[in-house]
């Protein structure tokens, strides 16, 4: 299958005087699994609908491959969508739902049946072909919706929170399946989600959106390890933020004491420490930053334990892996030594 990328340039869109998108620029590589991540109301779904052609942008343009499609209607774009609620046609059975797009494209019946059968096989839903949409479970509907979109061999597949209606266990299974499907087909996937774990699990790259703008684009590890803004840091997992009060080269003063960074500190900047990078060990490690801390709260999370620490009057979180044996973990009220390596202290852009 030919791989096609997407280029979004300066897209704006308002509903009445409510701006939904305030100028979005994005490049999605051909064959990439790209995710638009953000809370509800950040404009991610609007952007997806604009790519699908279901909404018109106020300004900016969209290229699919090397063709501009900004003013093309939805039905002429080689793009298909898996909708949030699947939007299967309730009056059609599974096979007819999946064959719908091909029928609209006036693909002849024999080929249509062949491709639908192939796709049902591919998605492991061949046994459901004659079922009506309303007789399917959530997971089955999700597969049908995916099959209905993919059977048309779109240049780009758009997925609007496709897993949000499913329970956690099934969601996990289908995430992996979605990722494998994308790898096997090599089609460009663009996923919209508010679920950071889903985004981190599935994506080659993620664009974190905030109030109609793209806040940061990068690979999952890049966004998690080196977020540029407090917003991105906060959205992708837990974070401890500290303000730089004064700086002397790589040595900075913060409300919890002095800290050594790997780069020069800037006064007023925010520092971010992921809770799992904060070690709670009695013996000081060389090269680490050390703080005296008191355990305020200890929450058992199964595979790990989450601590709320008091460090010089500041509240900070630490997550410690539960090893099961070895050193006993600190209890509530205990005084501990919190340590963090300079490279785990990320300097964010001041907001």
């Amino acid at each position: 299958m030919q791989r096609v990328g997407l280029e979004i340039v300066g897209i704006t869109k308002s509903y009445g005087d409510q701006p939904a998108l305030r100028g979005v620029d994005l490049d999605v590589q051909a064959g990439e699994f790209f995710t638009l991540l953000g809370p509800s109301g950040c404009g991610k779904t609007t952007l997806l609908r604009i790519v699908a052609g279901l909404e018109q942008p106020d300004s900016g343009h969209i290229n699919i491959g090397d063709r501009e499609v900004t003013h093309e209607p939805a039905h002429t774009r080689r793009v298909n969508t898996v909708f949030q609620s699947y939007a299967l046609f309730p009056h059609l059975n599974v096979a007819d739902n999946v064959g719908f797009g091909l029928r609209m494209l006036r693909v002849n019946k024999a080929e249509r049946q062949r491709r639908v059968a192939e796709m049902l096989e591919f998605m492991h839903i061949a046994a459901l072909a004659e079922r009506r949409a309303e007789q399917l479970s959530g997971g089955q509907q999700q597969r049908v919706a995916l099959a209905r979109a993919l059977v048309n061999e779109p240049d780009i597949l758009l997925l609007d929170e496709p897993l949000s209606a499913l329970d956690a266990k099934l969601r996990g299974d289908l995430q992996l399946e979605l990722k494998r499907t994308q790898r096997r087909l090599g089609t460009t996937f663009i996923l919209v989600t508010h679920d950071q774990h889903e985004a981190l699990t599935l994506s080659d790259r993620i664009a974190v959106m905030h109030e109609g703008r793209v806040e940061q684009i990068g690979a999952p590890a890049e966004l998690y390890e080196t977020p540029r803004t407090p917003y991105v840091a906060d959205f992708l997992g837990l974070s401890n933020c500290l303000k730089v009060l004064s700086a002397d080269g790589r040595k900075v003063e913060t409300p919890v004491g002095s800290l050594l960074l790997t780069s020069e500190g800037a006064v007023g900047a925010q520092l971010m420490i992921r809770p799992e990078r904060l070690k709670l060990e009695p013996e000081p490690r060389p090269e680490y930053n050390h703080f005296d801390a008191t355990v305020r709260e200890r929450i058992y999370l199964g595979s790990s334990i989450r601590y709320t620490l008091d460090i010089a009057g500041q509240s900070m979180s630490a997550i410690v892996a539960h090893e099961g044996h070895g050193r006993p973990l600190p209890e509530e009220g205990e005084r501990v030594l919190a340590q963090v390596h300079p490279s785990d202290v990320v300097q964010l852009a001041a907001e």
Binding site: A52, T81, F83, F89, H91, F100
Partner: protein, 296 residues
């Protein structure tokens, strides 16, 4: 009281009124009609023995004078009028239902009232209103004459056309209301899905919208077609001698020239057509709902 007796008493109390009602007002009258239809008519217009199928021959148009097509024509006319009314109300109700359902929420109740209020006035009054509109010399009749649709000095009333107008006007609310209910809760995401899957223009309507309105449409068809088929007041007031419908023919047999077996037979024939219509309708409904891959 033992448990079984209590259960029986409870059952009797809960379904008793319904069963009594249906027995008294549906089953017994139906039985009476069935028996009447097979009786003879006395010279004084009283049902009498022996049992015979003479009344049905009369319905088919046979009398001591030989065969005449009159009754068959009346049945055919009634079917046609019901068909016209159904199609016309569908054609009018779809845009209306969408107009109302897509209006701002605060205005919807008012718009619905505009549809409903006319049906609160007496049918006779409404029929007289149409007489005023369609009578000879009115603007509409003038227009029809000018266009050459009517001979000079004639009116659109009385005529089969006037009957159609009356029926459409009477039953339009019964098509609009169920359709509106369907349109109002329409899942517009299916419209997006259809557009996303390469449908455009009327195919979006046909595949994304229409199937969702089928329940309302089917309810509307039943509510309009059956009463139109048996209409009495509208054809009596707006139709002439050549626009008589089944309801009028039946009424005639009870009053001016009493012939109870004949009217009972007519009523049975009418019921038969209604049932036939409903069976056909069910078939169609099933097809529409099952959404055979190629509806058209």
């Amino acid at each position: 009281m033992n448990p079984l007796a209590r259960k029986t008493a409870g059952l009797a109390a809960s379904i008793g009124p319904g069963v009594t009602w249906i027995t008294l007002f549906l089953f017994l009258p139906g039985l009476l009609m069935g028996v009447l239809a097979f009786m003879s008519n006395s010279p004084y217009g009283q049902p009498t023995l022996p049992f015979t199928t003479a009344a049905f021959s009369q319905v088919a148009g046979y009398s001591f004078l030989g065969w005449s097509p009159g009754n068959i024509e009346v049945i055919g006319r009634s079917l046609l009028q019901a068909l016209y009314a159904t199609f016309a109300t569908i054609a009018l109700a779809y845009p209306l239902a969408f107009l109302i359902a897509r209006a701002p929420e605060r205005r919807r109740a008012g718009l619905l009232m505009l549809v409903i209020i006319p049906s609160w006035t007496n049918q006779v009054v409404r029929a007289y209103a149409w007489m005023q509109i369609l009578a000879p010399g009115t603007p509409l009749s003038h227009l029809a004459v000018t266009l050459g649709l009517l001979p000079q000095h004639m009116g659109l009333y009385p005529s089969s056309f006037a009957v159609s107008m009356g029926l459409i006007y009477n039953y339009l609310p019964y098509m609009v209301l169920p359709l509106y209910a369907s349109v109002e809760k329409l899942d517009w995401r299916l419209v997006d899905a259809a557009r996303d899957l390469y449908a455009n223009g009327w195919r979006v309507f046909w595949h994304g919208v229409f199937p969702q309105t089928v329940p309302g449409l089917l309810a509307g068809i039943i509510l309009v077609a059956i009463p139109s088929f048996g209409a009495y007041i509208v054809p009596k007031l707006l139709g002439g001698d050549r626009s008589v419908m089944l309801g009028n023919l039946i009424a005639q047999q009870f009053s001016s020239m009493p012939n109870w077996p004949f009217s009972a037979a007519l009523t049975l024939v009418m019921l038969l057509f209604t049932f036939l219509g409903l069976i056909l309708f069910r078939r169609m409904a099933r097809r529409l709902n099952a959404g055979e891959a190629n509806l058209l």
